[in-house]
């Protein structure tokens, strides 16, 4: 058993070097498809992160009327905080809101002028509510509309709840991101299928050059595993080499694009590449190895038929 294994390994290496040119071609073809897979992984991660970011921004803002009493607001805040779905409730006073508003629009003279003419602070106090899970916002919104319903219409407390508006935008964005994700998935499938075919053909070339050897091996009673082994090993070597090559190409690209993604997505792709290198390495090299072995098995099986 050990002798057979040793010989298979040796024959695999010899075959790899003897067909160096074809091996190189196979490795390049596989590296291209692995690179595409790697890039898709990167894009997917970015999309995932931005989806999370957007979902993080979901909150319910309750705006109170300007005449609202602080005690009433405090009361509502405590009752909100006692809800099991609520993560946190943040109170923003009307003065703070005005400061923030002024800062945001400091360059817009018309707005600043209008504000000056108004003389009073038109903004009310507000509470911003974060739920533990995105799906729980419905419950909180329902609770708030109940509150609104029982208010004294002469002396209203809540001016506006802006949950519904946000929700539409979020749904739209989520839809877009999911569409992009499924599109990249389809593209990836097509590319992987194409590269398996090309790899298969390339490997078949190496097998073709050794078909005589295969027929002689069969005649002298070599087991199928003994014949297949070296080609499977070659497939594994193609996969590893192609995976490493794809990573080598991916590295400078991610290094270059990292700061850009930092700005745009608040997420540094390069840091992800480095911190999750083991996972990315495993996926690319693993896919390469599987592709190589499958191609080799398909190619050899032609000559193993009795």
């Amino acid at each position: 058993m050990w002798i057979a294994f040793k010989r298979i390994v040796r024959a695999g290496f010899v075959g790899f070097w003897r067909n160096a040119f074809v091996s190189l071609a196979a490795i390049f073809v596989m590296a291209v498809s692995l690179f595409v897979i790697g890039s898709t992984m990167m894009v997917d991660t970015l999309l995932g992160v931005s989806l999370e970011n957007i979902q993080d921004k979901v909150d319910i803002n309750v705006y109170f009327v300007t005449t609202a009493e602080q005690t009433d607001i405090d009361l509502l805040q405590t009752s909100l905080e006692s809800l099991p779905d609520v993560e946190e409730v943040v109170f923003t006073s009307r003065a703070d809101a005005l400061d923030a508003f002024k800062e945001r629009h400091s360059k817009n003279d018309t707005i600043m002028q209008g504000l000056e003419e108004l003389g009073i602070n038109p903004l009310g106090d507000s509470l911003s509510i974060r739920a533990k899970e995105t799906s729980q916002y419905e419950n909180i919104a329902a609770f708030l509309s109940e509150q609104q319903a029982v208010e004294d219409p002469q002396k209203p407390l809540i001016d506006e709840v802006n949950y519904i508006k946000n929700q539409e935008a979020i749904n739209k964005l989520t839809g877009i991101i999911q569409a992009v994700e499924s599109a990249t998935f389809v593209i990836m499938i097509v590319l992987v299928a194409a590269s398996i075919l090309i790899t298969f053909n390339t490997v078949r070339l190496t097998v073709y050059t050794t078909r005589e050897e295969i027929s002689v091996m069969r005649l002298v009673g070599a087991s199928n595993m003994f014949i297949r082994g070296p080609f499977m090993l070659q497939g594994i070597m193609y996969g590893i080499a192609a995976g490493v090559l794809a990573l080598l190409v991916l590295y400078p690209i991610v290094l270059w694009i990292g700061p850009e993604t930092e700005q745009f997505f608040q997420f540094n792709l390069f840091n992800y590449f480095v911190s999750d290198f083991g996972y990315i390495f495993a996926v690319l090299v693993g896919t390469g190895v599987v592709m190589g072995v499958v191609s080799s098995l398909l190619a050899v099986s032609r000559y193993l038929r009795v």
């Binding site: 002798i3 005589e212 009673g221």
Partner: protein, 227 residues
């Protein structure tokens, strides 16, 4: 040791079958020659024996084993009991005589020590000790065939099957190859050979099976080439 029981083989829809109800048996240590015109079914017969092809009907037994019932995964093991020699030698051109023979032993899972031991012995048996490191391209036809025979016997098979082993050889090389096959037979290995060569048959004076159009037409214990 080998029994053909009413074996027929038809390829496609051809009118004439390649083999038509062939029955015979071969005893251990026999030297059997199969003669006949091209297309008489000689090669098909040999293919049945190494399970390279399946009969349309009938059975082929090796000892008590129905060859065509052997599961695919067990076939290599069965083939190790049979050494094969072909008209076109089937040597690997990029390997030396030594490596060609060693290759057959490696495929059988023999140890390196055994290989280092047995390959020179096999080459000695075919009188080629001095060509051990030559490539097939550097050997004459007769020498190539002798290397092929050495490869066939190195795993000590029960039977040697030789399909037109002298088909490509000049008379002297033919004589040498037949002498070697006879020597192997004398050492206790069954030999089944197909040939066209009248001189070889008449010289051998062993059992001859004559085939024509897929049928056995003669089976003589000390046959001559009659066609």
């Amino acid at each position: 040791m080998i029994y053909f029981d009413n074996v027929s083989k038809a390829y496609g829809n051809e009118a004439g079958a390649a083999l038509d109800g062939v029955s015979f048996q071969v005893a251990p240590k026999e030297f059997v020659s199969i003669v006949g015109h091209s297309g008489a079914g000689k090669t098909t017969l040999l293919k049945m024996l190494i399970a390279e092809d399946r009969p349309t009907s009938g059975q082929v037994f090796f000892e008590s084993l129905d060859i065509h019932q052997i599961p695919r995964t067990k076939l290599p093991k069965f083939r190790r009991k049979i050494g094969t020699v072909f008209q076109d030698f089937k040597l690997l051109p990029h390997k030396t005589a030594y490596e060609n023979i060693a290759f057959a032993m490696e495929a059988n899972g023999r140890t390196d020590d055994e290989i280092a031991d047995n390959v020179p012995q096999a080459l000695a048996l075919v009188d080629l000790e001095d060509k051990i490191w030559n490539f097939p391209g550097e050997l004459s036809g007769g020498e190539k065939q002798r290397v092929a025979i050495a490869r066939a016997i190195v795993n000590q098979p029960d039977i040697i099957i030789a399909d037109e082993p002298t088909g490509n050889l000049d008379p002297i090389a033919t004589y040498e190859v037949v002498q070697i096959l006879r020597k192997i037979n004398d050492l206790g290995t069954t030999v089944i050979m197909t040939t066209h060569n009248k001189g070889v048959i008449d010289e051998l004076g062993r059992r001859v099976i004559t085939m024509d159009e897929g049928k056995i037409v003669r089976d003589d214990a000390e046959g001559k080439y009659v066609l």
